[in-house]
Amino acid sequence: MAAVQQGPEVLEDLTKYAGSWVAIRDGKVIADALDSVELRNKPEVHKDDFLMPVPDAASSAFLF
């Protein structure tokens, strides 16, 4: 049986934030910005929020 890893979960579809950074709290986006520092410095973003970039074409195939 696979463990669902601890840590932040994302309950929203992030594709509308493609190309941006988002701050996640309790699974929901609470803020977004084009730049990671701009996002971190927003007053609504807490120190323990989960910050992540959303790929430009988030719903497309990933090639790495």
Binding site: Q5, D13, T15, S36, F50, L63
Partner: protein
């Protein structure tokens, strides 16, 4: 230690993928979780450039070098100071990561030189799971 089996997750990006969340502590003590893809094709840890300031890296802590990606040659910014990482389910084992920050990179990649120096990785694509075994 026993095997840690982790289910793929989609993180709001439309399709379940082998994401692993590491709790990372930067060189200045900044802490936070980073979700990255298990990537056996990456030599080491590759992070979107926006993570560098969040982790406390200054320009003096980073050296530019050339690398190769799927799209061709890229300028990478190699950290000259390590960060620390922990898998949340294995909190008593901390290991170093030496990230490369890449402009235009949009997903964190956990490559071979850092994570896979410490954990054997097994991908089970048909089950949408991967397993980590501490080496």
């Amino acid at each position: 230690m026993s095997e840690l089996v982790v289910a793929y997750r989609d993180l709001g990006l439309g399709e379940p993928r082998p994401f692993l969340i590491l709790n990372v502590t930067g060189p200045g003590g900044a802490k936070g979780p980073i979700a990255g893809l298990i990537d056996t094709g990456a030599d080491g840890t590759v992070l979107p450039a926006g993570y560098a300031p969040l982790m406390g890296y200054s320009p003096a802590d980073i050296a530019a070098q050339q690398g190769a990606g799927v799209g061709g040659s890229v300028t990478m910014h190699q950290a000259t100071k390590p960060s620390k990482a922990v898998i949340p389910e294995i909190p008593d084992f901390e290991f170093e990561i030496n990230p490369c920050f890449v402009e235009g990179c949009q997903i964190a990649l956990w490559g071979r030189k850092d994570l896979m120096q410490h954990f054997d990785v097994k991908i089970m694509e048909r089950k949408k799971q991967f397993a980590l075994t501490q080496a």
